[in-house]
Symmetry: C2
Subunit: 209 residues, 2 copies
Amino acid sequence: MSSQTSSLRDRTRRAVQKEIADAAHALFVERGYEETKIDDIAAAVGMSQRSVFRYFETKEELVIGKFDFAAAAMLAIVRDRPMEEAVWVSLRRVFDEMVAPCDDPGQRPAAVSILSVVFGTPALFAAYLQKMHQLQEAIVEALLERANAAGRPYAGDDPAPRALTAAAFGCLVAAQHSWLAGGTTKTFAQALDQAMAAVRSPQVPPRTG
Amino acid sequence: MSSQTSSLRDRTRRAVQKEIADAAHALFVERGYEETKIDDIAAAVGMSQRSVFRYFETKEELVIGKFDFAAAAMLAIVRDRPMEEAVWVSLRRVFDEMVAPCDDPGQRPAAVSILSVVFGTPALFAAYLQKMHQLQEAIVEALLERANAAGRPYAGDDPAPRALTAAAFGCLVAAQHSWLAGGTTKTFAQALDQAMAAVRSPQVPPRTG
DNA sequence: GCTGTATATGTCAGTGACTGTCAAGATGGT
DNA sequence: ACCATCTTGACAGTCACTGACATATACAGC
């Protein structure tokens, strides 16, 4: 019952998890998500089907589980941003966690292939939207706490924080869609900034043609 | 091969569909979605499991298929709104199709029970988000066509229409969530108006020149 | 009425994601 | 070396969903 932050067993577990996810990812890109059976993934890593499900609750988690890492970092960002900062700006900073892998030359190919599979597979996309919604709820919670700490709490039934966060996530997904559809020519940061500016332009709207 | 808008067979098919959906709905509310098997629904309407799947592609469609009706009406609204109207306002009018059942005393109990099941069942909620996203895409398409018809088309890569629509749908879902969580005390129209106002509060008409 | 064609339905077998269970094996601490 | 704990494979089972085939029912023309 050692409560180490990272025991040996924990580390090996993470390693095996990564190995399975990588093998699955490769197969998904190669043959497609639906066409790849759990047995194929199990065979690729030399395990039984049952053991794959001991590391991932569902097939979808093999792909969208990658966003769980970002989730923790995003919540930390909400808390660390200056309390006076406008919510919309803080949310944009939160999304930097999603932007980074897409615009970093090293991680970009992997990020694009993941997003392509997600956006190209209805079942996966539904799971992705759900995960974003969970994340959204957690961020709303963090925003409420931040407002409390700042001494200006929201009214109990004020829909503003939830609505703003939902709108921002809408922009995030819309930006991902546009960015992928446009052949990922510009940076994802640009696509996201444009989308978010279209909904809530800063004080002075930039020249609109 | 009669191409009537509503042949006898079409009508009986709709009737059977409604009968199945109603039976399923009752069982879902009574025992819960996951606990209700397709066989239970089939037995309730005196059919085989196979026949249920001839009327509904998936178990989820038994619930969220109800939104397909609204979808067609919503697209019509986009097209019928004055072309000068701000997109955000048109989207609010589009959502009237979702508001009506929630605020009409006659349909309200049914609407609330459906939304409760959807928001209370992760698998269903994921499917719901996906369906809203499909609807969203269709509405973006309609907005683009409307802009074309008005003589001021969007630039090919302008993320504004998609971002605005995504943000509006975010508000819709957030409002539904708040409305349900708050015990449906106020009207849903109020909840939605508040949410959408929080994102684009005083709709300042863009100074184009 | 009779017949041919299209549609609706039941039955059966099968796939694939996922779960519970149990026994055997590997591991880590003492 | 020993024991508690974790890990694994094997097996059987559930449930959503699909394809195939046979049968029944409906609707047409004659």
